[in-house]
């Protein structure tokens, strides 16, 4: 313990030497270092991404042609449910928390996250939650089969797999809240001298607002699933019509959580893209302040539009109009963001390394997802789309091309900082183009399936849906294959890649994380960055001095 203790206080040049004495178990199981915890989060998220992805491929295999070839319908429902739950709670959310852990202290000049030990706890709640979800496939009755939305009364009928899923959601929610508290405290209190709130990198802003959203809504979900649990076992009747309960109440509570949740998965992506595009356009981000305001407005509006998930439950016209208008309104701040990114590219000096490709891919596809979102916002049109594949297409455009593509962008962007090695550019670009093509082959046809009326979550379909389903399935398998290539890329980089990375591998990068060596040493910013260093970066980001040039 002495050596470990000393390592925390020894001067920087001794670290590499001292770390040799920290055992593997100490380093990774008792981790309190934000970089180690970030790494744990990212690997966990990737393993869940592969797990959820395999389930998606099982679903697409069954849907390749009409008829039931592989799975009983009940197991098919378990696959769709767990695919959703695992991707949302196991892959995307932990990946963003992991990135925040790794990068936020570096970017704002803090030595670590505010609560290092709570950080350890918030990570170690995740593996048991994942285990509960995976074990649930093997209990009597199988895993939860009510869809990721867990609507009762269907979820009240289900077997014990549903209880395991509920407990897993409790753990995941706890983990998210602790992670969020850590992010909020770190961002508010530990910024470098000279870095005021409106001079903080946009990734810091989006993570801050995301953390607030999570603190607000994770307890709401926990409450909803706890009520579900007591309905199932203690004869309460919150959602059971047979005892005077209201099944629609669950939907209101669920979507009061669920709609902000959509932005919990999107806002960090906005932040990442807002770091990457200026870097490779070699220009400051256009409209920094309006980006911050747009992010805040999106977050506030996200609490007021949950009803648009429920246009088919039969609400009065006035309520439908209320939700319809507010939902449409979200297009305004989202549009502002897209325009700002494009204005950042405009008159730039652009290069197209892999992170930039994924970011531009994000802007293109997220815009398409935004358009289909606008169409779904129009309540009468939603009547035709609700619970069809159009919705599936829409949310995969915003979540795969939105959240996942930016996670890839972030990985390639910061991989040199994490590993100290450069990734193979050609392979990175291949990964991008491969993902881009097959993503569209997979999900674009789903718009047509939805328009033609194919309901979602069905294991078998009528014959007129055959062609597009076959195309989507082929696309899905190829897309999945490409992600193995991504893993190969990352491992190759960790093992040396194509050579050592300099502290600042990207010409246009101006934030603080590029001021520390690559790989980032175990301990950074033990002495906060100097005011000159901070101001130099802010100037380059257009955040200091003359705002009008």
């Amino acid at each position: 313990m002495t050596t470990a203790h000393d390592a925390l206080h020894a001067p920087a040049h001794d670290h590499a030497h001292e770390e040799h004495h920290v055992s593997f178990v100490q380093r990774w199981f008792y981790a309190t270092n934000h970089k180690d915890i970030g790494t744990l989060y990212l690997w966990f998220a990737f393993s869940m991404f592969i797990t959820g992805g395999i389930m998606a491929l099982c679903i697409r295999a069954e849907l390749f042609q009409p008829g039931l070839q592989f799975w009983q319908p009940d197991f098919f429902n378990q696959l769709t449910t767990l695919h959703g739950v695992i991707m949302v709670f196991g892959a995307i959310m932990p990946a963003f928390t992991g990135l925040a852990n790794w990068m936020l202290p570096l970017m704002i000049g803090a030595p670590d996250m505010a609560f290092a030990r709570m950080n350890n706890w918030s990570f170690w709640l995740l593996p048991p939650a994942a285990a509960l979800l995976l074990i649930s496939f093997f209990v009597p009755g199988g895993a939860a089969a009510g869809g990721w939305t867990l609507y009762p009364p269907l979820s009240i009928q289900a077997g014990m797999g549903m209880d395991l899923a509920i407990f897993a959601i409790h753990l995941l929610g706890l983990s998210s809240i602790m992670g969020s508290i850590n992010i909020v405290t770190t961002v508010l209190n530990m910024r470098a001298p000279g870095m005021t709130m409106l001079k903080m990198p946009l990734f810091g802003w989006t993570m801050l607002i995301t953390a607030y959203l999570l603190i607000a809504v994770a307890p709401v979900l926990a409450g909803a699933v706890t009520m579900l649990l007591t309905d199932r076992h203690f004869d309460t009747h919150f959602f059971k019509a047979i005892g005077g309960g209201d099944p629609v109440l669950f939907q209101h509570i669920f979507w009061f959580f669920g709609h902000p949740e959509v932005y919990i998965m999107a806002l960090p992506a906005f932040g990442i893209v807002s770091q990457i595009i200026p870097t490779f356009a070699r220009k400051p981000l256009f409209g920094y302040v309006s980006m911050v305001y747009a992010t805040c407005s999106i977050a506030i509006l996200s609490f007021m539009v949950w009803g648009h998930h429920m246009f088919a439950v039969g609400m009065p016209a006035s309520t439908q109009l209320f939700f319809m208008f507010l939902t449409m309104l979200i297009a305004v701040p989202t549009g502002v963001k897209v325009f700002n990114w494009i204005a950042t590219m405009w008159q730039g000096s652009m290069t197209f390394e892999t992170p930039m490709l994924f970011s531009i891919g994000f802007v293109c596809l997220f815009t398409i997802g935004g358009f289909s979102g606008l169409i779904l916002a129009i309540a009468p049109v939603d009547t035709q789309m609700q619970d069809t594949y159009y919705v599936v297409a829409h949310f995969h455009y915003v979540l795969v091309a939105g959240a996942l593509f930016t996670l890839f962008a972030a990985t390639y962007y910061w991989l040199p900082k994490w590993t100290g090695n450069m990734y193979h550019e050609g392979r990175g670009q291949f990964h991008f183009w491969w993902s881009m093509v097959w993503f569209n082959v997979t999900f674009f046809p789903m718009h047509f399936l939805g328009l033609a009326g194919m309901p979602r979550r069905i294991p078998d379909y009528a014959l007129q849906f055959t062609d597009f389903n076959a195309i989507a399935s082929i696309g899905a398998f190829c897309f999945g294959l490409g992600q193995i290539f991504f893993l190969f890329n990352v491992i190759h980089t960790i093992r040396g890649g194509v050579g050592k990375a300099p502290a600042k591998p990207w010409e246009g990068a101006n934030t603080l994380e590029w001021e520390v060596p690559s790989p980032a040493p175990h301990h950074t910013w033990e002495t906060p960055p100097s005011l000159e260093m901070v101001e130099k970066g802010l100037k380059a980001q257009g955040l200091l001095g003359d705002h009008h040039e």
């Binding site: 099944p247 356009a281 016209a317 405009w346 290069t351």
Partner: protein, 364 residues
């Protein structure tokens, strides 16, 4: 390999694939289609403008072309403009949409009212003005659906979209559909009519349509409702008023003839015979024809329920358990028959019988 090759050929031989809404058959569906087309044009224009600017920039403002970055990063005028203009476009979209919402919700002055009840996994229809009442179930043969290990037979034209008794409505009349459910949330969806309304237990919701043409129209349950969610189609046959009146008359006469006489004294053998058809109509999908069950669905052969006290057996049929829905929508006679059948089949030999009167008593 052969299967893969076959599968790749399959799309070519199936019917033409639609890339847009099913043809509209009601004023609301026309409105929705027009609204969607309008939105698509607006989106297309925005798409071309935004992507045009972006790709121009991507093509021309490259470092490799020697383009130097101009470090501007603010312009209050354009930022205000690109906030206000989209907001105005949204107002222009919201106006016609609001009109359709209000029309869609106006279920007043309907000429026929039909209650559609969702069951796991079929639809029940009750014509409130005519006293006609029937269940509507998928008729696609299980052999066409199950293709495990390459088994399976050729699929019919209306695979998964065909039912034994479609909803029959007259053309040009305002039909109000009340939806509710017996067990979980289902959704009554008919794309050609622009109708989708959840059927929620404990609640009655309504929607309406006025079909413009005669013909047969097909939809599917659109809310995940368990194992056979994909197998509960909705088929509506729109007929002329005269045909509708004839059909109603015929259904009323049939109902009269088929009604079980409540005072009939059933023998055990009669109950078993009747129970077999009830079983085949309702239970066979989960518990299988031989009563052996599959996966999470327990075997009835030799089970504690089907050979234990008859009251418990009846209780489970009435109230449901875990994945099994409550079957209280069946008539007293049907329940009595199916319980008796289950206790005296699949190798079960309890020898006892349940009478409709017992079911009636147990319901209270």
């Amino acid at each position: 390999m052969r299967r893969l090759a076959l599968a790749l050929m399959l799309p070519a031989v199936t019917q033409a694939t639609s890339m847009n809404f099913q043809p509209a058959q009601t004023a609301i569906a026309h409105d929705i289609t027009n609204l969607h087309t309008l939105l698509m044009w607006v989106i297309l224009v925005i798409f071309v403008l935004v992507f045009g600017v972006m790709f121009y920039s991507i093509l021309k403002h490259r470092k490799s072309l020697g383009h130097a970055a101009k470090p501007f990063h603010e312009n209050t005028t354009v930022e205000i403009l690109w906030t206000i203009i989209p907001a105005l476009i949204l107002v222009a979209m919201a106006w016609p949409a609001a009109r359709v919402v209000i029309a869609q919700k106006d279920t007043r002055d309907s000429e026929i009212t039909i209650k559609a009840t969702g069951y796991q996994w079929f639809w029940g229809y009750k014509y409130l003005d005519h006293g006609v009442d029937f269940k509507s179930r998928l008729t696609t043969d299980r052999k066409q659906i199950d293709e495990y290990q390459g088994k399976g037979s050729a699929k019919g034209e209306h695979y998964l979209l065909e039912v034994d008794e479609p909803l029959v409505v007259p053309v040009g009349k305002k039909v109000r559909i009340l939806t509710t459910s017996n067990d979980v949330i289902h959704s009554w969806a008919m794309p050609a009519f622009g109708v989708k309304q959840d059927a929620i237990p404990g609640f009655i919701r309504d929607t309406w349509f006025k079909a413009e043409n005669t013909g047969t129209f097909r939809g599917q349950c659109s809310e995940l409702c368990g194992k056979d969610h994909g197998f509960m189609p909705i088929v509506v046959k729109v007929v002329t008023d005269k045909e509708f009146q004839e059909w109603v008359g015929k259904k009323q006469a049939e109902a009269k003839a088929a009604a079980d006489d409540p005072n009939k004294k059933w023998t055990k053998d009669e109950l078993i015979a009747r129970g077999r058809s009830v079983y085949e109509g309702n239970c066979v999908a989960c518990h299988k024809a031989d009563g052996k069950g599959t996966g999470p669905y327990p075997s009835l052969a030799g089970s504690k329920i089907a050979t234990g006290p008859i009251a418990d057996h009846l209780g489970i049929v009435l109230a449901g358990k875990n994945a099994m829905p409550a079957w209280n929508a069946l008539s007293d006679t049907e329940i009595a028959a199916v319980v008796t059948y289950e206790r005296n089949s699949f190798g079960n030999t309890t020898g006892d019988a349940l009478l409709p009167a017992d079911v009636k008593a147990a319901r209270k």
